[in-house]
Amino acid sequence: MSPRSKTISTTRRSIYRHPISLVNRPTHFCPGCGHGTTYKLIAEVLDALDIRERTIGVAPVGCAVMAYYYFNCDISEAAHGRTPAVATGIKRCLPDRIVFSYQGDGDLAAIGMAETIHAANRGENITVVFVNNSVYGMTGGQMAPTTLTGQKTITTPSGRDTSLAGPPIDVCKLINALDSPWHIERVALDSPAGVRRTRKALMTAFKGQMEGKGYSLVEILSPCPVHIHKTPVEALSFLKERMIPAFPLGIFRKEGKRLT
């Protein structure tokens, strides 16, 4: 054994390992999709807080539904948009468990807007992970409530016309109008720094739930290259240059206090 390799072995420590809360299997998501990264970040947070064995996730219709393939914790399906209602039912019945919902933009801000607002307004002690990628992914790239003004989708072939479809909905701003939420934050998977900020936001939200603080919403701007018709690298530029200006990043609500 050379002296050099000996040096390494004496100082070796684990700097990365596959999260226990994540099933070790290839992802079915499209190239450049942000769901895989988000799953891993949630799994890392469950590991770090040591709550995998008391966590229940709720995954509704859309690309989010496959969560049970990837999370190594209890997962329930929910009907499209009803995720916060199902999460409410679970959490109220098992208040000492950790309950999170994992919802796309169509699920959370279109069909499930009523459930979203009322769960937030009741201050349900749950963590809502909101993946905003500006389109419906699973159904093939239709206009979402968060599709940008002028953005082309298969149902806005000439670009989103706000005079017909209204402007994109800023969910964090909307939920921040309510008095009950404890933490509201928007982050983006646009860069390694953005990924780290996303992990931190998720950590805040899950930790808050463990401490009984109440409702948290983490909105994650995420790339969907296939349905915005871009390469994975271009999709990250789209995230930076188009989405972030429309959906400003930051903490909207911290420990129950409005910051914006």
Binding site: E53, R54, C73, D74, E77, R82, T88, C93, I117
Partner: protein, 358 residues
């Protein structure tokens, strides 16, 4: 609370749920079932149980879905238009084999209709109002006592068969007051639920799902569900039969209609008409075998409903050409008239009838 009490049907049903060990109730206002939601609001939190007035009927039933996922006993109630809103989730509950109790205190329809008692939701309840191949157990009480008792049964059946159970009643049974004996003794035993999501502590993660995209997986799933439905059909059929031994004619009616029929049949018997009654208690599974059997012994069968003739179709399917089947019904919240029923019975017994809607 004393064991023998005077209560309205909605309250009696709520007290039944509480005594059945209902852990969580989720409601939304709609007449004529509001007494039930108010009863649960008064009594569930007081016992440390979950009560939420949800933002919609849809949210309410999906909260029940969540309670069932967590292995708890959940119930929601509504009336016809609100029950329509719940249908998607009923399909999901059936698909995921989740136990739940759903109460439909029916009112006049279609549309917003009115708030009078009706039986127009029979098809919706028994044929699967939601999408896909599924069934729910449907119980039809006809007294305040049964509103109470069947609710306890509903929770037991839901857990036993891992299926949603509907109590199909109506505004009259919900609102009228009658004396009843409350269920006493220990709350019924809840079977173990190793499938429930409670956090994967020391076990493999559990999943509640109905999306099955793998080749052939959904057909296999459906075959398992169908086998369960056949088992329920073989084990669970319930009905109440009266005065059929010497009957020349049979009346088939459930719920409020059966109450009116009882009065009419008593009068018809006084007039010398030998009439029997078969009252289905489970609307699904339907007591078709017994009705078929009785059809061979009577001159004809009268079906009475507060609808255009929905259960009538199940009776006709059971009877075939063994006996003529005639129908007496009222619509849109109207209640069948005793004299009209007696007249139909006279026709049936004294003149051979060709059958069909009278």
């Amino acid at each position: 609370m004393r064991n023998r009490v005077l209560m309205n049907g909605n309250d009696a049903l709520g007290e039944g749920a509480i005594r059945a060990g209902c852990d969580a109730y989720f409601g939304y206002p709609i007449t004529p079932q509001n007494e039930l939601t108010a009863y649960m609001a008064r009594n569930m939190p007081a016992q440390g149980r979950v009560f939420i007035q949800a933002e919609s009927e849809i949210a309410a039933v999906n909260m029940v879905f969540g309670a069932a996922v967590a292995g708890k006993r959940g119930m929601t109630s509504s009336s016809s238009p609100g029950i329509s809103l719940k249908q998607e989730c009923l399909s999901y509950l059936a698909a995921a084999e989740l136990p739940a109790v759903i109460v439909n205190v029916q009112r006049g329809g279609p549309g917003l209709g009115n708030i009078a008692p009706a039986q127009g939701d029979y098809f919706q309840a028994t044929k699967g109002g939601g999408h896909g191949d599924y069934h729910m157990i449907v119980l039809a009480p006809y007294s305040v006592q049964e509103m109470h008792d069947f609710t306890i049964d509903a929770f037991q059946l839901a857990d036993h068969y891992r299926t949603p159970v509907m109590i199909l009643t109506d505004g009259r049974l919900g609102q009228m007051m009658e004396p009843l004996s409350l269920h006493t003794g220990k709350p019924p035993k809840v079977p173990p639920k190793p499938w429930a999501l409670t956090g994967a502590l020391g076990r493999k993660p559990n999943h509640i799902r109905s999306l099955l995209l793998e080749d052939g997986a959904l057909e296999q799933r459906n075959l398992i569900l169908q086998a369960k439905y056949r088992k329920i059909m073989a084990e669970l059929v319930r009905f109440d039969e009266r005065m059929t031994r010497d009957a020349d004619a049979l009346v088939v009616a459930y719920g409020t209609s059966a109450r009116i029929v009882e009065g009419a049949v008593d009068k018809a018997r006084d007039m010398g008409l030998k009439i029997g009654i078969l009252r289905p208690i489970t609307l699904w599974p339907f007591p078709k075998a017994r009705i078929r059997e009785l059809a061979t012994r009577v001159k004809g069968i009268l079906v009475v409903e507060m609808s255009s003739g929905q259960m009538l179709e199940d009776v006709q399917l059971a009877v075939g050409d063994r006996a003529p089947v005639i129908f007496e019904g009222r619509l849109g919240g109207a209640v069948p008239d005793e004299s009209a029923i007696i007249q139909s019975l006279e026709t049936l017994v004294r003149h051979r009838h060709r059958g069909g809607r009278s």
